[in-house]
């Protein structure tokens, strides 16, 4: 009962993904040295989100999975963010 119609990531692909991730990590560390004040966090989070997206897309295979998983993953993440934002309606406007 094997399902041989699924995508197999090559070793090379995994290696390339790592290189990209390491570069982004270096970029994050570098970006911190530029004093951007409040935007430092935003930039670091943006890069982290990008890295996370790459891990999910390639290492966790989401790019090659069925649509349902992709929709669920994105929806759940957006949902979490909306909970945080709703909490901040209180904290930002007290």
């Amino acid at each position: 009962m094997s399902e041989n119609n699924e995508h197999i990531s090559s070793y090379a692909l995994n290696g390339k993904v790592l290189i990209v991730l390491l570069c982004l990590t270096a970029l994050t560390v570098l970006a911190i040295s530029f004093h951007l004040g409040a935007f430092t966090v935003a930039l670091a989070l943006l890069i982290a989100t990008f890295k996370g997206g790459i891990v999910m897309t390639y290492f966790m295979h989401l790019k090659f999975e069925n649509t349902l998983l992709r929709i669920l993953a994105i929806s759940v993440i957006l949902f979490y963010i909306s909970i945080v934002l709703t909490t901040f309606i209180d904290y930002l406007y007290r």
Partner: protein, 541 residues
């Protein structure tokens, strides 16, 4: 399908293997549902007795049968058991487990062994919570809501109660996970999403809430443990923390949790109405989507528990608005239920009676929720008995009556026996009258200014407190009558046919009790779920 099933015809799930060990190691979703049923019943009666003792205490002002400290401990453990052990898991774990696979034409849930493991997690969590009463130290007394700073400082077995609730949360998460995968992957051939009956739909919406909301209370309870044990300070203003942050985190779970409680109950009555009107559900699509809408919108109303806690004005307006919005899909359901009954061939058997009781109590509870959702009114009634009345109407009247309706509806299918109808009607009468007598005065008491969680009160509150206590005794009498009817006829009841109510969903097409693997052949679905080819009209009336 043969209609003359008796205990010694083809083996069913009850006779498949016998002995205590076969039950404790079962992976059969039906047996697991019953394991939950039996344990929930015991815990329910325990918590109900605690409630009764509280009512006896409140019959008169001052110390009647217990000290103030004991009263605080009582309402704490009454709440913890009722909320985390009974109402949140109840319908999903008992009737969801038993009937979800059958109603979608599957042999079992997606992960049967995980299902059994989940029951053991549940027992462990409930035991840890109960143990907080008997361990060395005082019983926890911060309420089931564990508000800081008191929960972080109270000299009691708080950590045990917190950990009990934490462990119970895992059972909820895993049940939700199991049901989600089951519905996504194991529907019978031909059963598209919109051919799935509405009880499974309600379980689907519920499962998403169980899955995503529960982890938040998990981590929050751990944070309170960290406050107590490590003095971490997240919620302690003397260390820089914010106690209101605790309330946010707590209610981010605990509000959606009430939809975990009510959605399956709505699903149950949505199954009962078409059967006892012998016509399809009115507005099937609306009911399915409204379940999802309630689950989604319900995630964004939590601040309505915090209107007087000091949150910002914009926040209060936001949460009040969303609270009013979430009532809309619920109202849609009520209209659709009434539309289902309208013009149908009504048969007022016990399941329908409980379902109708559900509607009346749910409406009262729901309206009183809207009253509290209005910002100005909320200031007056927060932390009064008005709130206590509201949540008992909506939770006990909603989930509780949903549970009673479900047990009366599916009893013949589960055990292959039939209970006595007159006995059931009498039980219902006592329960319904007792319910209103017990809880309605609390609305008035609350408006008069009677605070909640107080064991003492001014003399002007006494008459209504007395009425309420009398109601408690009537209610518990009804519950005893109801349970003894069901237990007695388990042993002595007449053999029930496969389809005593002429229902049309899949569970009525298999024998009573069901065979071990539910279906001899995998069903192929061609009809919509409520297809009454030949509605049954009882000519005898």
């Amino acid at each position: 399908m043969s209609n003359h099933i008796s205990a010694d015809t083809p083996s069913n799930y009850l006779t498949h293997k016998t002995g205590l060990l076969s039950w404790l190691t079962t992976t059969d979703h039906k047996r697991i549902g019953l394991l939950y049923l039996y344990t929930i019943t015991i815990f329910f009666l325990t918590a109900a007795v605690l409630g009764l003792l509280m009512r006896i205490e409140k019959f008169a002002p001052g110390e009647t049968i217990m000290t103030a400290q004991t009263y605080n401990a009582m309402f704490t453990i009454h709440g913890i058991i009722m909320i985390f052990v009974i109402v949140i898991p109840g319908l999903s774990a008992v009737f969801g487990n038993f009937f979800l696979p059958i109603m979608i034409g599957a042999k079992d849930v997606a992960f049967p062994r995980l299902n059994l493991f989940t029951w053991y997690i549940y027992i462990t969590g409930a035991s840890i919570a109960l143990f907080s009463q008997f361990a060395y130290g005082h019983s926890p007394d911060a309420g089931w809501t564990f508000y800081v700073p008191y929960s972080a400082q109270s000299h009691s077995n708080m950590v045990l109660a917190l950990m009990g609730a934490f462990v119970l949360g895992f059972a909820s998460i895993l049940t939700g996970l199991n049901f989600l995968v089951t519905m996504h992957r194991m529907r019978a051939p031909g059963m598209t999403w919109f051919k799935m009956p509405l009880f499974p739909w309600s379980l689907y919406a519920t499962a998403w809430v169980q899955l995503l909301a529960t982890p938040i209370i998990g981590i929050t309870l751990l944070m309170v443990v960290a406050e107590r044990v490590l003095k971490i300070g997240f919620f302690d203003p003397t260390l820089g923390g914010d106690p209101v942050l605790y309330q946010h985190l707590f209610w981010i779970y605990s509000h959606p949790a009430v939809y975990v409680m009510i959605l399956p109950a709505m699903g149950v009555v949505t199954e009962i109405f078409p059967t006892f009107a012998q016509k399809p559900v009115f507005g099937y699509g609306a009911i399915a989507i409204s379940s999802l809408a309630i689950a989604l919108i319900g995630y964004f109303v939590w601040g309505h528990h915090m209107f007087v806690a000091g949150i910002g004005y914009n926040s209060r307006v936001f949460f009040s608005l969303l609270t009013f919005l979430v009532a809309i899909p619920s109202a849609i359901k009520v209209f659709n239920w009434l539309g289902t009954l309208y013009g149908g061939s009504i048969d007022l058997k016990p399941p329908l009676l409980y379902a109708l009781g559900f509607i009346s109590l749910f409406i009262i509870g729901g309206f009183s929720g809207l009253t509290q959702g209005a910002l100005a009114a909320n200031v007056h009634i927060t932390d009064t008995d008005f709130v206590v009345a509201h949540f008992h109407y909506i939770v006990f009247g909603g989930m509780g009556f949903g549970f009673f309706a479900a047990i009366h509806y599916w009893y013949p299918k589960i055990w292959g026996k039939m209970y006595n109808f007159r006995w059931a009607y009498i039980g219902f009468g006592f329960i319904y009258v007792g319910f209103h007598t017990l809880y309605f005065p609390m609305f008035i008491l609350g408006l008069m200014g009677m605070p909640r969680r107080y064991f003492d009160y001014l003399p002007r509150f006494q008459p209504l407190q007395e009425v309420s206590t009398i109601g408690a005794f009537i209610l518990i009498t009804g519950i005893i009558i109801m349970i003894s009817n069901l237990v007695y006829h388990y042993y002595k009841g007449a053999v029930a046919p496969a389809n005593p109510w002429h229902g049309v969903t899949l569970e009525w097409k298999i024998p009573s009790p069901p065979p071990h693997e539910n279906f001899d052949e995998v069903p192929v679905i061609t009809h919509p779920p409520y297809y009454f080819e030949k509605p049954f009209v009882d000519e005898g009336m």
